[in-house]
């Protein structure tokens, strides 16, 4: 999968959740170019054009980042903290995806500047609807900051 001109960066370590989310977006008619990375470290490499992504243009930023909270190595919280502290990157909307509906996580994410927080529902109908709404809101309805 080409990592150039990516519009949605999707950071998710669970293969199942990734497959279901990508399918849900496609079924909902999203044609935006989506790129899936499997952990926080890879997400940071992608954004900062390092490692495997050294030849990616650093002028191209995704329009939306879907970020799973609990991942090995570099967690979603760490990625969120790093990107929201970066003057050049903090305007990219970041939607946190998580299985947890525990209070402290939600508070931490918003404190760090997350734009939205979605608890992945068990029920696939609800899950598809949630994913569709995220895509619709952040890619179509919300006006970009720049």
């Amino acid at each position: 999968m080409s990592y150039h001109n990516v519009e949605i960066l999707f950071v998710e370590d669970s293969t199942d959740d990734a497959a279901l989310t990508i399918r849900a977006l496609k079924k909902s008619g999203f044609t935006h170019k989506l790129y899936h990375v499997i952990n926080g470290a890879e997400a940071l490499d992608f954004i900062y054009c390092k490692g495997a992504y050294a030849d990616r243009s650093d002028k191209e930023f995704p329009k939306l980042i879907l970020l799973d909270l609990k991942m090995p190595k570099v967690s979603g919280l760490q990625v969120l903290e790093k990107l929201k502290a970066d003057q050049h990157l903090k305007s990219i909307p970041i939607v946190m995806l998580t299985s947890s509906n525990e209070g402290p996580d939600i508070e931490k994410c918003f404190a760090l500047g997350a734009n939205s927080y979605i608890v992945k529902p068990v029920d696939s109908d609800n899950f598809f609807n949630a994913v569709k709404e995220i895509g619709l809101y952040w890619m179509v309805l919300s006006q970009p900051a720049h």
């Binding site: 669970s14 959740d17 279901l20 609990k70 299985s99 992945k120 696939s124 899950f127």
Partner: protein
Amino acid sequence: MKKNDSDELIIANREIVLQNKEIESRAAELIIANKELLFQNEEKENRAAELVIANKELAFQNEEKENRAAELIIANKELAFQNEEKENRAAELIIANKELAFQNEEKEKRAEELSIANRELKNAQDDIRKLNDELEQKVIERTAQLESVNKELESFSYSVSHDLRAPIRAINGYTKILKEDYAETFDADGVKILQAIISNSKKMGELIDDLLAFSKLGRKQVTVSDIQMTGLVNMVREELLFEDDENIPEFEMGTLPNAKGDKSLIKQVWINLISNAVKYSRNKTQTKIEIGAYTKDNLIVYYVKDYGAGFDMQYYDKLFGVFQRLHSQEEFEGTGIGLAIVQKIVQRHNGTVWAESKVDEGSCFYFSLLA
């Protein structure tokens, strides 16, 4: 002769004159002496008068002395009496002194006993302090253990929330894909089974969510304020969602007294009790739900009464248990967490929850709060 005679006469005359003069001078001396005697006499008379006065004075002084002597005798007697009294008193004092000495000894003994008792008390106190310290240490240790257990529980519920939900979501999602994209591969039975997997995984997700909601209640801080109960219950009733074809019961409710409690938690109690009442009234036509309250001592008892399915009081002890259900899923859906949540919330408000019911006649659920 004549001349001699004259001479003699002259001489005699002269003698007589001389004698006369002598006599005169003697008389003068006698007068002086007389005056002197007179004076002396006078003096003596004066002296005698003075002596009489002095005598009188002495007599008076004598009398005085006699009086004084008599007084002294009386005073002496008095002193002698006082002396005797003092001796008696001294004797008494000696006795009293002996008594005091005895008492002193007793007191010393007592003091020693007290000192021993004191020492014993101090030892006991030290023991108690030591025990207290040990107890405190134990409390600290136990608290630390509880805290760590609590943390474990928290991380357990986090894991349950996060880790269990993920595979269930995958099962649900993949089955949905099978049903949607591969429907023609399955026969009617197969599709039914796919649907069963979908609804069961969904059900398990709900159970996990309910269990986590329940466990969160124990950790949630209870913020007490005055609750305007009538308004709160009206709000809950307005938020109830009814299906179009649902049998909507009639509500009977007067003004409810206010109580103190955590508004969001007490709202959850009303939501659970009222939606239960609606759910179990579903099969009754033209039924009603009564909501009311009464005061008892310093408590307010609220109740929700329905005329629905009711339950068998034989199983009352299971009523408020977690995941305990007295109806089958086919009769009335639910996870069996609602009344457990009600009980936990009311208990955290130091209140009580109880119920009365008769099968097929309806149930009444009560809960008490501080006024």
